[in-house]
């Protein structure tokens, strides 16, 4: 392998210095290495910020952190589709590789966007378990393997924003909180202690921007890099909110 003359990788990057500026595309060429990922290509640009025309370029801003697809930071549009730059190998892509920032979040610079809204959404749906305190209360509840296995799937959500990016009902016109936060409600509601605040979370989901804004395009479940069964969570909570809605109406 090492005897081969290294090929080049061409990248076309959507540049934008700040949210007010107009975006433009800039091409870069970096050396190719076997099994290299998009992050490695971006790192090459850091070390040599010269564009394809040989001009010195302002260094490209992009997010990354864990580089092993558990932190969610490096999510971006790669050849038009949402992916993590760390787990996307150059070999799988047609060139020039087009990199653009996520389109459903506010831009910071170049490929960096602000995803705070996702954390705000988690707050809206009360995605936490209300324990009495951190003092010693003895062992926690007994939980079956089956319940744990289902909950584990949901607990892998790294708030990367892929599901929001692909959801046609998440956009600047709508208030939809998106699938990620909804699945977290199911996770919290499936825990024996968390279930005690089940109603409060369902009520939150029935509010503005909540679960009813889902239009069943089901892109989320296809795009989720962690294979979280998002549409199953949504459907289960559809049922739970239906029941809750009837209760709200009939039990008064």
């Amino acid at each position: 392998m090492s005897n081969e003359t290294p090929k080049e990788v061409a990248l076309l990057i959507k540049r934008c210095p700040n949210p007010q500026a107009t975006a433009y595309w800039e091409e870069f060429k970096v050396p190719y290495y076997p099994k290299m990922n998009v992050v490695s290509a971006l790192m090459e640009i850091q070390k040599n910020p010269i564009n394809a025309r040989g001009e010195s370029a302002t260094p490209v801003a992009w997010d990354c952190n864990c580089l092993e697809e558990v932190c969610g930071a490096c999510t971006m549009l790669i050849n038009g589709r949402v992916r993590q730059a760390c787990s996307t190998l150059v070999d799988m892509l047609s060139q020039p590789i087009r990199l653009a920032p996520l389109s459903k979040f506010s831009l910071v610079r170049d490929l960096v966007v602000d995803r705070q809204v996702m954390f705000t959404n988690l707050r809206k749906v009360k995605a936490w378990i209300e324990i009495d305190g951190t003092y010693d209360m003895g062992p926690g509840p007994n939980i079956s393997q089956k319940v744990q296995e289902q909950a584990y799937e949901l607990s892998k959500c790294m708030t990367c924003g892929s599901c929001l990016e692909v959801c046609p009902n998440v956009n600047s016109k709508s208030k939809f909180i998106g699938p990620a936060a909804i699945a977290q409600v199911e996770l919290m509601n499936s825990h024996p202690i968390g279930a005690q605040q089940k109603e409060a979370r369902l009520q939150a989901l029935m509010g503005e921007g909540g679960i009813a804004e889902c239009g069943n395009a089901q892109n989320c479940v296809k795009a989720c890099p962690k294979n979280i069964p998002l549409t199953r969570s949504i459907a289960r909570l559809n049922r739970a909110t239906t029941v809750q809605g009837l209760k709200n109406w009939l039990n008064r």
Binding site: S40, Q46, K47, W62, E68, V70, F119, P141
Partner: protein, 588 residues
Amino acid sequence: MNRKVIVVGGGLAGLMSTIQLAERGQKVDLFSLVPCKRSHSVCAQGGINAAVNTKGEGDSTWEHFDDTIYGGDFLANQPPVKAMIEAAPKIIYLMDRMGVTFNRTPEGFLDVRRLGGAKYSRTVFAGATTGQQLIYALDEQVRRYEDAGLVQRYEEWEFLSLVLDNEGRCRGITVQSLTSLEIEAFAADAVILATGGPGMIFGRSTNSTINTGFAAASAFMQGATYANGEFIQIHPSAIPGRDKLRLMSESIRGEGGRVWVYKDGKPWYFLEEWYPAYGNMVPRDIATRAIFKVCVDLKLGIGGENKVYLDISHLDPHEIDRKLAGVVDIYEKFVGDDPRKVPMQTFPAVHYSMGGLWVDYDQMTNIPGLFAAGECEYQYHGANRLGGNSLVAAIYAGMVAGPKALEYVKGLAKSHSDLPVGLFDEAKAKEEAKKTAIFALQGKENPYRLHQELGNWMLENVTIVRYNDRLRKTDEKIQELMERYQNIGVGSGAAWGNQVVPFTRRLWGMLTLARVITLGALRRDESRGAHYKPDFPERDDENWLKTTKAEYSANDILFSYEPVDISYIKPRKRRYDVAKEVTMQNEQ
């Protein structure tokens, strides 16, 4: 009295510190380089140790304590380690109540598995992404306190420096928004640093890119003592990448994975042969040195490289999915082979720093009012950390640091609000000047390439096997890099969203800590835990059963040593070819 505590760092230790403070009604400002959910704690895979004894093996906190001290080659002060180990089961129960999706036994109790350096199954786990699940649970609890108005989060703000009053007490911090690059000073009565490890000093490691150790380095340059810096853990199994060395959890061996290479055309399970008592479950420093010996000395690595097979192809695929989900996926995604069918190829990589900021048993550094918790401090692992102990140490340190910081704050005569505003203005102006100076750097050196050069030198000379002449040369090299640093060019990018300027600042911190690590290693003429010198192959308790303490002075680093508290377990020879009981008898 108006009281305020600042926590820097949104990983396990920082979040737990925050929860402890908020639970006691204390308002907290929480600063994190990245959104807390993206902190490096997410990368922890194998699990969290506690002697919960749900397998009827007769495990106890004493066994766990002894394994930890023994595994750490007796360098850790024993009282805080003992307290941590005793708290560990309660921590697991707490995390379980918070909703962490720990794997279960068929009856629904906490499942446990074995990790290296232990004869008992005492690692509780959530698939092979335990750190991720733990930090999410703590993040959720902090969100709850945020909702209640007790916590104010500042995510994507970077810690720059401490604000010290004229008594030398820590009274706040300066921080920078990583979006606008604006600098602010925040006042407080106590500061807890929970800023993680410095793995990026080695260029590529299993660490996240944020783990530059800058916050600890900055505190060090302002007078905080740094302890045991030379103790850097090299994990035996990772997969190489140009951007990162991806960890392949020790739990793979814990669930039955076997390490081998071809010898005379047949698989040779060298760990099982050399260490019959522990086999593949030897601690990390032992496994890593064995792999080094096989690959470098015996030249038996796969394809002549520093690589060995890590094999789980004989295990039940369903069990693999249930217990090793996460790591197996990573291997498949980045390498392309299915570990259920083909043996993995792994090699050692820099993983963890046992050393860090010196703290007392209350987690307070030598600077009054400055506390440290998690990987950025040195307290719990001695010369080598056992797998599964980092998560418990991070959470436990937070459980100590929070309440102790509050205790300290309550004992203060003056509140931060009584201090002159000038103190904070001055600190801010100092950082503004530094920022201007970095923007003014328009030389020829590229900061990322300088970083790569540093990493290559550190990796080559300050990891598994260390020689004094090479360590000396490395220190000279680092000083050369520090000179070339003045000739860096940060480019013409505007301040908004600029990433080169903050990186360049962190690089100075990395260079400084690299010297602490290298010089500490140079001075310690013995072999202990992760620190191994072929020229001094034995542990030397007479001269070196001591904590290394580095202090920053002008442009130099001063070293001193303090004895280790061994009040519970008498040091004995550490060996894994025989059971621990044998080593105890030998001492008697």
